[in-house]
């Protein structure tokens, strides 16, 4: 399977972490994160699509992504990124 996400950018983002700035990163690390991130995007998108469908829309809105986060325990770490109290249509 071809990877969709650029590994160099993943490495740069890893280096934003304070500890990781001073650590080295093995060559397989960005690859593993690229695969994991693709799963996350796919799952989040499908959950958002289900929510959009329930509201008879064909366009996924930000509120659908927020609903996908609220409806999945695995996405709890994102609650600060996408606050729950945003108006959900």
């Amino acid at each position: 399977k071809k990877l969709e996400l650029p590994l160099a950018r993943i490495k740069k983002i890893m280096k934003i972490d304070e500890l990781a700035t001073n650590q080295m990163i093995s060559s397989e690390s960005p690859l593993i994160l690229a695969v994991a991130a693709e799963f996350l995007v796919e799952e989040m998108t499908l959950r958002a699509w289900i929510h959009a469908n329930q509201h008879r829309r064909k366009t996924i809105q930000k509120s659908d992504v927020a609903a996908s986060i609220a409806g999945c325990e695995m996405f709890d770490f994102l609650i600060d990124i996408v606050p729950r109290d945003e108006p959900v249509k």
């Binding site: 993943i10 990781a20 593993i32 994160l33 998108t45 992504v65 325990e73 996405f75």
Partner: protein, 98 residues
């Protein structure tokens, strides 16, 4: 110094993954793509931070794939692990040949 454009995953790539996961009639608002872009970036940092702390505790200098797999287990992403472990195995084997 980290440039602003380097702080997030590129939105075009995110958008392609999203579209590939959806039926053809589905459309994506710009805000929904930006939101997923922020989320996936946070996800990378979340896993990195956990893996990085493990390295630090064990006084190792290099973040390995195993550290990230461990972080995913710790943080509740178990469902992603079987295909990732298979991927990691293939990667290791390919590197042996090189």
């Amino acid at each position: 110094v980290i440039l602003e454009q380097d702080r997030f995953m590129p939105i075009a790539n995110i958008s392609r993954i999203m579209k590939a996961a959806l039926p053809p009639q589905a459309k994506l608002s710009k805000e929904s793509k930006e939101c997923v872009q922020e989320c996936v970036t946070e996800f990378l940092l979340f896993l990195t931070s956990e893996a990085s702390e493990k390295c630090n505790t064990e006084r190792r200098k290099t973040i390995t794939g195993d550290d990230l797999v461990f972080a995913m287990e710790q943080l509740g992403f178990d469902t992603y692990l079987p295909p990732i472990k298979a991927f990691q195995k293939r990667f290791k084997e390919a590197n042996k040949i090189d």
